[in-house]
């Protein structure tokens, strides 16, 4: 690695980690979570970066180099549809197959009556989550995997073989991607490891949101027991992908466990009590967690403030970032808060003005990372991402 890139990488890592520890670095780190935007910038379609991860990697590296960001997600178009197609996963809208080739991939949540987990299957899940996933869930979500008591098939066997080998190929490729980001542009790979709340797993992948909300009223004890049964496995999965150097955080993608998707009482009884211990366990292992709070989680800031100082980096999407800063800025680094609609439909001047407002309001004492509110797709204008970047580089010096 060239000495200047090595030096640049070290500076950027120090800047990024200092901010995440809620301290004041030399300037505000710039760490955009860019997904299909990278395709637009690099001249690929959504189909190309979603179905061929090497193109997604190349697009991320080009953005990192040209925009000169401090950190970037190695591949924010993280669902490799080549893999999901090999497994036979039914719940994706794939660019070029289910959606137009220049539309990002979509999750397809089934209607309530076709939920991947039936309401009378809670006990099976609670008894043995891994066994349930293999024996019941996987055959339902895959077009190729045979149900457990039915004859196996050529397609069943290939789903496991191809899926397993493709998953290892993909995950192993991240090491080279991270090294390339470091050596080609001195860019830090922003995150390592994945977590979702037990409650969100039930809603996203098992019962569906509607099914789960009904279960909260019809079988609340089962919901709580299921969340509790998932906890040790989600903790294990998160820690197994964590940064061994404990620099960059594990990311929790927070979905529909907040008001108004559920009531405050439901958050306090189901979502938070089965997530907080996982966060505490991860912290005890020396890792931070990036709370990627999609939507508006401001109703729950008081709960998040229960966590130890510096336990998390709190990412702001639609929540009022100034309210967030007031409530938890003294404990945790904050990121984000630049609205995606502004980056897509606003002018460069409007983007600069908004960045200034956020920086003046929440970043003066450090502990802030510049980013869009939500994952940046191919509707964002290149000149606006450039404006956000260049302004922050100039105005965000401490």
């Amino acid at each position: 690695m060239a000495k200047d890139m090595e030096k640049l990488y070290a500076e950027r890592l120090k800047r990024y980690v200092t901010a995440m520890r809620n301290e004041k670095p030399d300037r505000i780190p710039i760490r955009p979570f860019v997904a299909e935007f990278t395709a637009k910038y690099a001249g690929y379609t959504c189909q190309e970066v979603t179905h061929d991860f090497e193109k997604a990697f190349a697009a991320a590296r080009k953005c990192a180099a040209d925009f000169d960001w401090d950190a970037v997600v190695a591949n924010m178009v993280y669902v490799w549809t080549g893999l999901t197609q090999a497994i036979g996963m039914k719940y994706y809208g794939v660019p070029g197959i289910d959606v137009p080739p220049n539309t990002g991939f979509q999750y397809l949540e089934p209607p309530e009556e076709k939920a991947f987990m039936k309401p009378d299957e809670y006990d099976q899940l609670i008894e043995d989550p891994t066994g349930y996933l293999f024996n019941v869930w996987l055959p339902r979500i895959s077009a190729d995997v045979s149900p457990i008591d039915e004859p196996t098939s050529y397609r069943n066997n290939l789903s496991f073989l191809k899926g397993g080998m493709a998953m290892l190929t993909y995950f192993n490729a991240f090491e080279k991607q991270n090294e390339s980001l470091r050596s080609e542009s001195g860019t830090v790979s922003a995150i390592s490891g994945i977590l979702k709340a037990p409650f969100d797993i039930l809603a996203d992948k098992l019962r569906g949101y509607i099914g789960l909300v009904i279960d909260l009223f019809e079988r609340p004890a089962k919901v709580l027991a299921a969340c509790e049964a998932l906890m040790p496995h989600l903790t294990q999965a998160a820690l197994s992908g964590a940064d061994p150097d404990k620099n960059v955080p594990i990311t929790i993608w927070m979905h529909r466990g907040c008001v108004p998707f559920v009531s405050q009482a439901h958050f306090e009884k189901f979502y938070w009590p089965t997530l907080k211990p996982i966060i505490e366990e991860i912290c005890a292992h020396g890792h931070q967690v990036l709370f990627y709070a999609e939507g508006d989680w401001n109703a729950h800031l008081e709960s998040f403030a229960e966590l130890p100082d510096q336990a998390i980096v709190y990412h702001v999407d639609k929540g009022d970032i100034f309210e967030v800063h007031k409530a938890i800025g003294h404990k945790f680094c904050i990121s984000g808060g630049i609205p995606n609609f502004l980056l897509a439909y606003g002018t460069a001047d409007e983007v600069r003005d908004y960045c200034k407002k956020v920086i003046d309001g929440v970043a003066r004492d450090g502990g802030y990372i510049m980013d869009a509110s939500a994952i940046v797709q191919n509707d964002a204008k290149v000149e606006n991402i450039k404006a956000m970047t260049d302004f922050t580089r100039e105005y965000g010096v401490y």
């Binding site: 008894e127 709580l224 040790p232």
Partner: protein, 56 residues
């Protein structure tokens, strides 16, 4: 607050070594080696299904 309860099947395992060992004849030589390799590869199967659930 919910405690992290001890699961029936520990995280990281699909077919625990204790179960697999019962299927084998008496092991001679380095049993720990066989156990470690079994558990390491079993963990790949575990990773597969939990990553399908989490990441894909």
């Amino acid at each position: 607050m919910s405690e992290q309860k001890e699961p029936k099947l520990k995280p990281g395992a699909c077919i625990p070594w204790e179960q697999k060992k019962k299927e084998l004849p008496k092991i001679s030589g380095d049993e720990k080696l066989i156990q470690k390799v079994w558990e390491d590869i079993d963990a790949l199967g575990y990773m597969y299904i939990w990553q399908c659930l989490l990441s894909f």
